[in-house]
Amino acid sequence: MLSHAEAEIHLLENYLLIGALLFTIGLVGFLTRRNMIVMFLAAEMMLQGVSVSLVGWGRFHDDWGGQMLVIFILTVAACEAAIALALVQMLFHRGGNLDIALWQNLREGNQPRFVDREIPADDDPKPTFPKLTPAGIDPKTKEEDTIYRTHV
Amino acid sequence: MGIVLVDGIEVEVGDNERINGIEAAERAGIDVPHYCWHPGLSVVASCRMCLVEQGTKDPATGKITMLPKVVPACQTPAKDGTVFVTNSDKVAQCRAQVEEALLIDHPIDCPICDKAGECRLQDYHFAHGQDERRADIRPFHSKKREMGETVSLFVDRCVMCTRCVRFTREITGTSELLVINRGSHEEIDVFPGFPLDNKMSGNVVDLCPVGALGDKDFMYSQRVWFMKSHDGICTGCSTGCNISTEENQDRVYRLRPRENMAVNKWWMCDEGRYGYHHVHAEDRLVGPRRKDASGKHAIVEWNTVTAEIKTKLKAAGPLAAVLSPHLTLEEAYLLIKFIRGIDPNAVLALGPVPTIGADETFPNGFTIHAEKSPNRRGIEMLLSHFGGKTLSFEDLTAEIDRGAVRAAWVSGGYKKSDWVSEATAAKFAKLDLLVVQDMFVSPLWNVATYQLPGGSFAERDGSYVNFNGRLQSAKWAIRPPVGAWVEGQLYQRLLERPGLFQGRKVLTELAQEIPAFHLAIGEVPSTGLDLTINQIAQQPTTAATV
């Protein structure tokens, strides 16, 4: 049976380790992934890592500050989500997909353009879906008919 | 050249033409209703349905003077300056009144009348009759009277046009029918003891504009609006009458003559008219059979037959083919191609041509020929073109008896089974391989190695050459019974040609290859092609080199 102090210290150290790992995994994800939404997820994961540490410290010190900070982190994350998703949506509309490599001209000047050296093999088996043969030929419609529908 | 005005439309009439108002209106595209008038019969103007207004146009002043009364168009000659008016109120009123008069005594039993659907009285009543009937509708009492073996008379329905009477007097010359009584008691009848039994009696049913004369063969069997009509050629004799084959759901219900002024005019004989029953006979053969080692015949698949018969024929040695005079030109052509393709020296022979009695000619010139096959002349023309060793059927039999031929293909298609005798069949039985195609069991059929059921005339698609060299095409009307293949389709398959057999396509090929048929390269008109005209003069240069 551990004493209260030992238990608290052990708990803190465990939480710090988990926080560190969570933060790092998030960092690696942010650095490597190219899908804007996944990058955003990774950033949130780093915030989670920090939150875990903060809560641990708050309990260790019997202080509400840690939890308060986490609450503020939540708030900031919500704001971040709003802005980031709006940006992502807009970038998607402009660029056509969610690839961050599309926006290389946002980097500072004199950087070499990044080009993929190899195209990954498409090792996912393409599912074959049953397809119905189209029945007959589409009737040609007059422009008048398309504009003024005779019925709804 | 004269000009006739019909409803303001100018119609040209030749100098030597003698036409009446109905024909002149027809040239102008106007239909004048009529019951009693028929182009092949004399004019009596008894029905009064064709009443029109008539007048004359003065060629000098151009002034038109109309007669105050209406006249029957059928007996008004159309000559230069004649004016007909068929669309005036007066004419319409006359027609309505005539129609009403005809209907006063006519039973309204259209539901059970076989004529309903093609009845002039119905049609004209809808077109020209009054909306309301002023006379009472009385209960209908059937007065049915047998005219003879083939025709019944429903006395009530008669409108006394006397077409039938005139037909027996003018066309057949037998004069069985007459009008008895006078006035409103007029009826059609026969002399007691002299029934309507001439060989063209069925035509009176077609002539009758209403349902008074009924065909016993067709009676009550089908309503006319269910049937589909297909242009055909009668195969009863070598006359080659033009007919309409009327069928519903692959069953022939009746044959009717089709107008062809060059061959049969409007008529056909009873033998041809009622000679279709073998198509649906109970004993008609279906299912190809093969003789096995024990001498018994077992049913095989058509595909098996077509797959193995060629190799077997090749292996069998000297070949002979018997071309039935019931085959169409196209089928005979394909069979020759097939046989000569296997053995270039194959013997070809014309099958037996059944002949019964002597030719019978009616006063108006219509002839029933003794030669009871439709295409003897066509087959002979083909044989003379292909040449090689061609024999008559008897000579071929002798040849087989001598052992010079080891295998034979015999096409039948006869309506009866007595076309070959037991003795002949016994000679054929000596062959290594005998293929017989027929519709009914015959002595030859029983000795065949391969028994192949064939098609009837209603199922064939192709052309025949009649007794005086007229090529006429018939369309298939019904599908063959399950298990039987029409010859053309079988030869098509044996020659490994793709697709279904199409008579028109093969005829074009045939006509391009054989100079005698070169006229058929283009369209074959519905009235046929006379192959004897200018055959040498118009021979195409390309055909000469072939």
């Binding site: 708990l11 933060f23 490597t32 949130e44 939150s51 939890q67 609450i71 080009v115 050296r117 195209i119 | -």
Partner: protein, 280 residues
């Protein structure tokens, strides 16, 4: 052996170092753009590294707590790895949702009930669902070619491992002092050793304050008294973000047509473009 000795001198557990190496290797192999076999190896390495890290963890007061904690921690970390390595962004989001649930569990375990639930409500309930919404709007088939390629996976994983190593090392070398029993045992200020971290809260204090049964009441009181300015600022921030998001979207819609024109004329396409194909 010498290396091990040297590591020991520095206060580094060799197992931790190994764990970091395995961690880097595993992440590198697991990230997209590798083959299926690479993924299997990555899975093995990551498992090993997480297991090795687990040796660094300390046992807690009783076995129930241990079990709960280990389950929570493993759920959090495994799903975190899944969230950054899955190909399909939808799966990434699902794994991240699991990470959030794990974190919420960890918060609960720490007695931060409100935070645990708030994390689920805000993150899982709002942010992630919105993200899925956007994802399904933008990329309804789920996966695309650029999700198969990672930027500089090896370097990033190495950096991450280094970071973990440094953090772990720092934690391991930090001295914790229990000061609840002996209040006078403050360390000397001029000592060469790093300043120890002092635990001053007793169990009774914690139960009254941060682990109180009426937890929310306490938290609310603290939030709206001591941290009131922070709350107000956060509120303002939220408003600003709201307005900003609306402005961006509205502007984006206006500029859509122009952007399409720009897209075609500028030749601005994905990195997986014709150029890349030629170079490959």
């Amino acid at each position: 052996m010498q290396l091990l000795q040297a590591l020991r001198v520095l206060g580094i557990e060799p197992l931790t170092a190994l764990a970091c190496v395995c961690f880097a290797l595993g992440l590198w192999l697991l990230l997209p753009s590798t083959t299926a076999r690479g993924k299997a190896f990555g899975l093995i390495f990551t498992t090993i590294s997480l297991g090795l890290f687990a040796t660094n963890l300390h046992l807690l007061s009783d076995w129930v707590s241990d079990a709960v904690f280990y389950v929570m921690a493993s759920v959090t970390l495994v799903s975190a790895v899944g969230a950054v390595t899955m190909r399909s962004p939808v799966y990434c989001a699902i794994w991240f949702a699991l990470t959030l649930l794990g974190t919420a569990g960890l918060f609960f375990f720490q007695g931060a009930q409100f935070l645990g639930v708030a994390t689920v409500v805000v993150y899982a309930g709002a942010i992630l669902v919105t993200m899925l919404f956007v994802l399904m709007l933008c990329n309804p088939e789920g996966h695309s070619l650029y999700d198969r390629v990672s930027w500089e996976a090896g370097i990033s994983a190495g950096t991450g491992a280094l970071l973990v190593f440094l953090l772990t090392w720092t934690t391991a070398t930090t001295v914790f002092v229990d000061n609840t029993a002996f209040t006078d045992k403050t360390p000397a200020k001029d000592s060469k050793e790093p300043a120890p971290i002092v635990l001053t809260a007793t169990a009774e204090q914690q139960n009254k304050n941060i682990l109180a049964p009426r937890h929310v009441e306490k938290l609310g009181g603290e939030l709206f008294s001591k941290y009131l300015i922070g709350v107000e600022t956060a509120g303002t921030l939220l408003l600003v973000a709201l307005v900003g998001a609306v402005a961006i979207i509205a502007h984006g819609k206006h500029a859509e047509a122009q952007a399409a024109a720009v897209r075609t004329s500028d030749g601005m396409t994905s990195g997986l473009n014709e150029e890349g194909r030629r170079n490959a």
